[in-house]
């Protein structure tokens, strides 16, 4: 299997704090990580590769420092990685980002052959849109399965376990395809010392807009149909009626009386 995994380097949003005075995000000192769901996507890809043979290529778009994310992926089993980096790509919304990725996929396929599967995380934990995967599939004209928690290859087709309201569906999907991944039942593997050393030594090539066929008017802010008008930190409530009676029975009785009076229960 010729596999591509798209990853994004993101700030660890679980570590983000709000400045209580200015009510803005404190971004300083927040570690950059490989987007959690992309890590699960890589683990599924690695299991598919380990079982069926093949190669895993990592593709990421971002600044030079995003090479660190690629190296983290190499350390846990990816075979090679490519960084897409150009000022023209900055400020891209999901449509423009997926366009850039789709052009890069076509370029890489010219050298490496068609990717049987392109894996993405279901969403990035900073933007939380979940749109780049399906939009990449649409740009490439390939079938997609989103919200996958496992993938197997049966008779050359993908069998994808997809989250549903009641459990999961098994979806059959021909290749080439795009699959986006949720949290898996298994934990992503840890890097080995050998893997880390090899990743550190690896040369990561960078592709700029000049290196492949791409219409830069469809990239970046200009190529993005959605515009961010403003951002703000959400307002806090702060009007709680706090009940702390001498014992639990009294607290429970007091709350139920209030809820009954307010016709809530």
């Amino acid at each position: 299997m010729n596999i591509l995994v798209c990853v994004k380097q993101v700030p660890d949003t679980t570590e983000i704090k709000i400045d209580p005075v200015t009510n803005t995000l404190i971004r300083e000192g927040v570690p950059s990580i490989v987007n959690t769901f992309d890590g699960y996507a890589l683990e599924i890809a690695a299991r598919v590769r380990d079982k069926n043979g093949g190669t895993i290529t990592i593709l990421t778009m971002g600044p030079e420092q995003a090479k660190k994310a690629i190296k983290e992926c190499l350390a846990v089993g990816a075979d090679k990685g490519v960084l897409l980096s150009d000022r023209a790509f900055g400020g891209s919304d999901t449509l423009a980002t997926s366009y850039v990725l789709s052009r890069a996929v076509r370029h890489l396929e010219g050298r490496l052959g068609c990717f049987d599967v392109v894996f993405c995380g279901k969403q990035a934990i900073d933007g939380d849109t979940g749109q780049v995967g399906p939009e990449l599939a649409a740009h490439l004209g390939r079938p997609q399965v989103t919200y996958a928690s496992d993938v197997e290859v049966v008779d050359g087709e993908l069998r994808v376990k997809r989250e549903s309201d009641e459990g999961y569906d098994i979806i059959s999907c021909p290749t080439p395809a795009v699959v986006t991944v949720v949290k898996t039942a298994y934990e992503p593997r840890n890097p080995t010392i050998k893997g880390k050393l090899a990743a550190n030594r690896a040369e990561i090539p960078t592709l700029t807009a000049a290196d492949f066929e791409i219409d830069t008017s469809l990239c970046g802010l200009n190529g993005s149909p959605t515009k961010v008008k403003k951002t703000y930190t959400p307002a806090r409530g702060g009007k709680v009626v706090k009940i702390q009676e001498s014992d639990a029975s009294k607290s429970a009785a007091a709350l139920m009386a209030m809820l009954s009076d307010a016709k809530i229960l």
């Binding site: 989103t146 009641e166 059959s172 429970a252």
Partner: protein
């Protein structure tokens, strides 16, 4: 910028075996308000099988018109079938705005359609407004795990599209006296264009965890302490006629299946009453339940962030408080 020929506001109503997802009807509420301000018709677009009843209900919940596409291939969700049907309808009618519920399937079809049209789609919105001058929808959505809110618009392309979280808006009471057009559209999709197929559906949870439609949710978090601790949560949920929810901490610890998870990476809910037990109130959890009408927190720590969002809070040990809440409720209803 003028958008010649684009008009009306559409709400895509997702169906599964003829049953509409609640969020579709919910979106008719803000859809009605926005359509009235823009001078547009509110159109419910329903794709499925045996969906006549769903179309009638959409009218009762505020739609002027329902466009229905009925066929065997739409019985259960399929990315290609639904996307191609929507694209055919959008090409024919040229809607100005399209709203999708931000369910897994809405977030699967929405980007597929938006990309084909090379237009903007705003994900997972929790607030909708309109700039009356330009007709641009102002889409409000959380990002950075709920730490930041962003207001987005799509000024240069139509249709403008967004997915909207379930539970944020409330269905209006159905009005059986309302009348509206039901337009049946026959969209023929070439079977060769349907590439994926559901080969099996597995129900993993013992009982259906219907967090989307629940009026009362009792949720447990890290403070519940273990799988057996959820017995207390379940007791209160059963007593109140509610459903059991959970924080990511409890799900990640393996105490309860993922289907119960509420939050940024779980379900978004908007029940009448949400009772958070032993949940500290991480922003990612709050992002999934802040649309609840009444939030009640039970936590030992008087400084837990959940108390900043709750309407009512009891400071105390949940294992003492929860059974007594159930007891008091039974007494009250006796």
């Amino acid at each position: 910028m003028s958008f010649e020929g684009y008009r009306d506001l559409w709400v895509f109503i997702e169906t599964h075996r003829g049953q509409a997802k609640s969020v579709g009807y919910e979106l008719l509420t803000p859809g009605r308000a926005l359509a009235d301000r823009a001078g547009y018709k509110l159109v419910a677009v329903i794709i499925g099988k045996n969906i006549g009843a769903a179309a009638a209900r959409a009218i009762e919940h505020g739609a002027d018109t329902a466009i229905v596409v009925d066929g065997d291939i739409y019985d259960v969700y399929n990315t290609d079938a639904v996307s191609l049907a929507l694209l055919a309808l959008i090409d024919k009618y040229k809607p100005d705005t399209v709203l999708f519920g931000a369910t897994n399937n809405g977030r699967d079809a929405g980007p597929r359609v938006a990309c084909a049209l090379k237009t903007g789609l705003t994900a997972d919105c929790t607030g909708l407004d309109i700039d009356a001058e330009t007709g641009n929808i102002l889409w409000t959505r959380p990002a950075f795990g709920g730490n930041l809110m962003a207001q987005i618009q799509c000024p240069d392309t139509r249709p403008q599209m967004g997915t909207v979280r379930p539970g944020v808006f409330k269905k209006t009471a159905p009005d059986a006296a309302r009348s509206g057009n039901v337009i049946s559209e026959d969209v023929s999709v070439d079977p060769a264009q349907i590439r994926t197929r559901v080969v099996d559906s597995i129900r993993e949870v013992a009982e259906a965890v219907n967090l989307d439609e629940a009026e009362i949710i009792v949720s447990g978090g890290r403070g519940v302490g273990g799988p057996e601790g959820f017995a207390a949560i379940r007791l209160l949920a059963d007593t109140l006629g509610g459903v059991v929810g959970a924080s990511r901490a409890a799900v990640d610890a393996g105490w309860i299946p993922h289907a119960h998870q509420v939050g940024q990476t779980g379900k978004t809910v908007g029940p009448k009453v949400y009772i958070a037990c032993g949940i500290s109130g991480a922003i990612q959890h709050l992002a999934g339940m802040s649309g609840s009408d009444t939030i009640i927190a039970v936590n030992r720590d008087p400084d837990a962030p959940i108390f900043e969002f709750a309407h009512y809070g009891i400071v105390g040990d949940l294992f003492e408080v929860i059974p007594r809440l159930a007891e008091e409720y039974r007494k009250m209803k006796a």
